[in-house]
């Protein structure tokens, strides 16, 4: 196995939200066993060494659970592989001498903060608009006090694996957030807690989603194909159903 490789990068550099932004070319000596983010660490070391501004990019857990590492790599969010985040992508997925284009999530609802780092507070505002669920506090409740059938618990859990990364928005031609909102609405509407707010919640979240400037879904399926957690398109069907019945109930 070869232990060093060279890649040519075209990286989006943008000073701030107002700046124009452009692609810059870099070449990096890397190693097939490095993660894509580690390769960026090497690039940044190099830039700092040369007295240049390092590339700003988001990352936190580096183990595929926080959803921060937003990079569109050769046109695909989180790179060429399916069901992983950028931090889980390794350089062995590329060939020696490859040219790799790296850009930020692009959507008006996700303005660029700097370089590859985007502002995803619009997602937080959608979550906040859903309000609170009614859960009794006080002593810790017994684990099986509220019975939830296993299949429903599993389905809710599957939806709850969404890490809020925003790859769905970045992949969608309409910059629609319906996979994300669908995952949240599906999870909350399946569980017995929070049933009282079920209808008002979905209406508030969809209103906020529209107000934030996300587009309308046209069911192309690009979101689910790019989602690192494999959130299925059926959550959008659930969202449609929940929203329509809430509206028809006058919510």
């Amino acid at each position: 196995m070869k232990h060093s490789m060279k890649v040519n990068l075209q990286v989006w550099r943008q000073k701030n939200a107002q700046a124009q932004g452009n692609f810059e070319n870099y070449s990096v000596e890397t190693n097939p066993n490095m993660s894509f983010l580690e390769m960026f660490d090497v690039l940044n070391e190099q830039l700092i060494h040369d007295g240049k501004e390092p590339v700003a990019f988001d990352h936190d857990c580096r183990e595929g659970i926080c959803g921060m590492c937003s990079m569109v790599i050769n046109g695909n969010p989180h790179g060429p592989k399916q069901a992983i985040t950028t931090c889980q992508l390794h350089m062995r997925s590329f060939n020696d001498g490859d040219t790799i284009v790296v850009e930020p999530w692009r959507a008006n609802a996700f303005p660029v903060i700097k370089d590859l780092s985007v502002n995803r507070s619009s997602f937080d505002r959608i979550i906040a608009s859903g309000g609170f669920v009614s859960v009794n506090t006080g002593n810790a409740v017994d684990a099986n006090n509220i019975l939830i059938p296993k299949d429903i618990a599993d389905e809710a859990f599957e939806a709850a694996t969404c890490i809020g990364c925003g790859a769905c928005v970045s992949a969608c031609k309409n910059a629609s957030a319906m996979l994300f909102v669908g995952a949240k609405v599906t999870q909350l509407s399946l569980l017995p807690q929070g049933q009282a707010e079920r209808q008002s919640r979905v209406v508030a979240m969809v209103n906020q989603m529209d107000a934030e400037g996300f587009g309308a879904c046209t069911n192309t399926g690009a979101c689910a194909a790019e989602c690192p957690k494999g959130i299925p398109l059926s959550v959008i069907a659930t969202l449609n159903r929940e929203y329509t019945s809430a509206k028809l109930n006058g919510k």
Partner: protein, 224 residues
């Protein structure tokens, strides 16, 4: 109106209108296709003319037609405005095209396919619907029936080509639209959805194929 205003203002409401009107158009296509297929009785268009005559003069059909045209207009206006709005959600475009395809080209081109269909419909309604509905202008008679008129239009290869192209756009529009409508209605089911998808593919191939075959066989003089 208040309760239903979401159908024209919210993202999901507008999608729902597309799906309801789209499915009504699919229902209309079934009837239209069945009538057109009557030319294959090879009876010099007698059955076809009788069916067309019935459609032109039955009160119930004429009323349904008003609903159909209303639905079509809503589908067109909502479809174009939705497409234009969605195009404004990403001002800075990506520099690189996706390497690994994550969706079909026709699912991403519904606005374009719809616009081609709209141009086709303008031509098609001018060619046949006006003639069959407004007797005075068309001058259809006992000896010059709708069938004769159709044979005449399709002697020219230009409309034949345009009709075939229109049917190809219809096929791709339906290939995405048929199953998409059920997803919009909120129906995504482990057993039913694969069945709907299969039915949708069959429908999207068979119906446009029957439509497209008629100008071709008439042009080539293959049926009498």
């Amino acid at each position: 109106m208040g309760v239903l205003s979401f159908l024209f203002s919210s993202s999901i409401g507008r999608k729902l209108v597309m799906a309801v009107t789209g499915v009504s158009l699919i229902a209309f296509l079934v009837v239209h296709c069945a009538i057109n297929a009557c030319v294959y009785f090879m009876d010099g268009g007698a059955t076809f003319n009788a069916a067309a005559e019935f459609m032109a003069h039955n009160l119930f059909i004429r009323l349904a037609e008003v609903g159909l045209i209303g639905g079509l207009l809503i589908h067109i206006v909502q479809g174009l405005s939705l497409t234009l709005d969605n195009m404004k959600k990403r001002n800075n475009k990506y520099g690189a095209a996706p390497k690994r395809s994550n969706s079909t080209w026709y699912s991403r081109s519904m606005g374009l396919l719809g616009t081609i269909l709209l141009l086709f419909l303008v031509m098609h309604l001018k060619d046949f619907w006006i003639v069959s509905r407004f007797d005075a202008q068309g001058g259809l008679t006992e000896t010059k029936t709708l069938y004769h008129f159709m044979v005449e239009v399709f002697t020219n290869p230009v409309p034949v080509t345009l009709y075939v192209l229109g049917c190809i756009s219809l096929a791709y529009h339906l290939l995405h639209g048929f199953q998409s409508a059920f997803q919009t209605f909120g129906l995504n089911h482990p057993i039913l959805t694969p069945m709907i998808k299969t039915l949708g593919v069959a429908f999207s191939i068979i119906v446009p194929l029957v439509f497209a075959s008629i100008p071709v066989v008439l042009h080539l003089d293959l049926i009498k």
